[in-house]
């Protein structure tokens, strides 16, 4: 009887430990980007901070009052064990396309016309239902005219995609006019790289 009471007490104490002391343990791992490059992170709290800039290096933090541990490498097996489900559901990064236009026109340059099939393929493989089409212009001419022109360009691209079978409801068009140039220029300067529409397929 007393024995079973003791056991229950021990079990309870164990649970409390798991919920409190061990519950605050955090682990942070730096892993390579999809392109293979490795960035860097700083893990910090009131007690200290740690810099990590090598692939698969990790730090553990017991609680907010204890400094993060010195970095140690985490094996691929441990990474998969701990983060398998989160990594398995990680979406592919969105794809960006830039389409260029003739001067003061909604007519696509021939080289950009050739990019349209790539956009359609991306929409298909990603089963994308969130596509952004953002129109831009260079700074030649009036600001409000350019806003309207960039809008017409975005709508022209949307029309082309819809014509090829993309659901209209999946495409959101916005226009930035001359406010967001690819190449910074003075006002009233024509620039072929700024006469564009950017398409993001998510």
């Amino acid at each position: 009887m007393a024995n079973s009471h003791l056991r229950r007490c021990l079990a309870l104490a164990f649970c409390v430990c798991v919920i409190t002391a061990c519950s605050q343990k955090n682990v942070v791992v730096l892993v390579p980007d999809p392109d293979g490059s490795v960035g860097s992170i700083t893990v910090a709290n009131a007690a200290g901070s740690v810099e990590i800039d090598a692939a698969n290096e990790s730090t553990a933090i017991r609680d907010a009052e204890t400094a993060p541990s010195a970095p140690v490498e985490m094996g691929q097996k441990d990474i998969d064990n701990l983060f398998g489900p989160a990594l398995a559901i990680q979406p592919q990064p969105p794809l960006h396309f830039i389409l260029y236009f003739e001067k003061n026109s909604t007519r696509l340059k021939p080289s950009s016309l050739a990019v349209l099939p790539d956009i359609l393929a991306a929409v298909q493989t990603r089963r994308s239902d969130h596509i952004s089409v953002v129109g831009h212009s260079d700074t030649l001419g009036d600001k409000s005219y350019n806003l309207a022109l960039s809008k017409r360009r975005a709508v022209a691209v949307k029309k082309r995609l819809v014509k090829k079978g993309v659901d209209e409801a999946f495409i959101e068009t916005t226009s930035h006019g001359e406010e967001n140039p690819l190449v910074k220029t003075a006002d009233n300067v024509g620039n072929p790289q700024n006469r564009r529409v950017e398409v993001v397929v998510r």
């Binding site: 942070v28 860097s40 893990v43 559901i89 998510r202």
Partner: protein, 148 residues
Amino acid sequence: MKLTSLLMLSVAVFIFIFATGAAAEEFVGLVKSVEGQASVLRGGETKDVVASMEIKMGDVLKTGGDGSVGLIFSDDTIISMGPRTELAVEEYLFEPIEGKLAFIAKILRGTVSYLSGQIAKLSPESVQLVTPAATIGVRGTHVLIKVD
């Protein structure tokens, strides 16, 4: 007199509806993939997470024991959550033309994979991944975080 105040009130109501309506339309992010049970707490209400639904600033996402979720934000940031995970989108601001950039996510428990987007590229100091024990700052990168 009465008529003018009524008119002013209706103008105010119109401006309010227009302003909040416009703010609500700003695209923050979307649920690209979901498996098993997952929910989102938004404005005091809990809803099931479904594919293609949009994410808003302030959302608190939770996955069940069999749940996992993949999110894509408008700046290309990617966050995915494993089972028994809770994550709050504390702050999100992506207006590069105005230079307004912020990304603060709170990881309350579980496992999270974070893949940086344009906010981290343009302004690394504007990104914070907050766990109960520490804060993670990133410089264009892929980070895995586990909170027990």
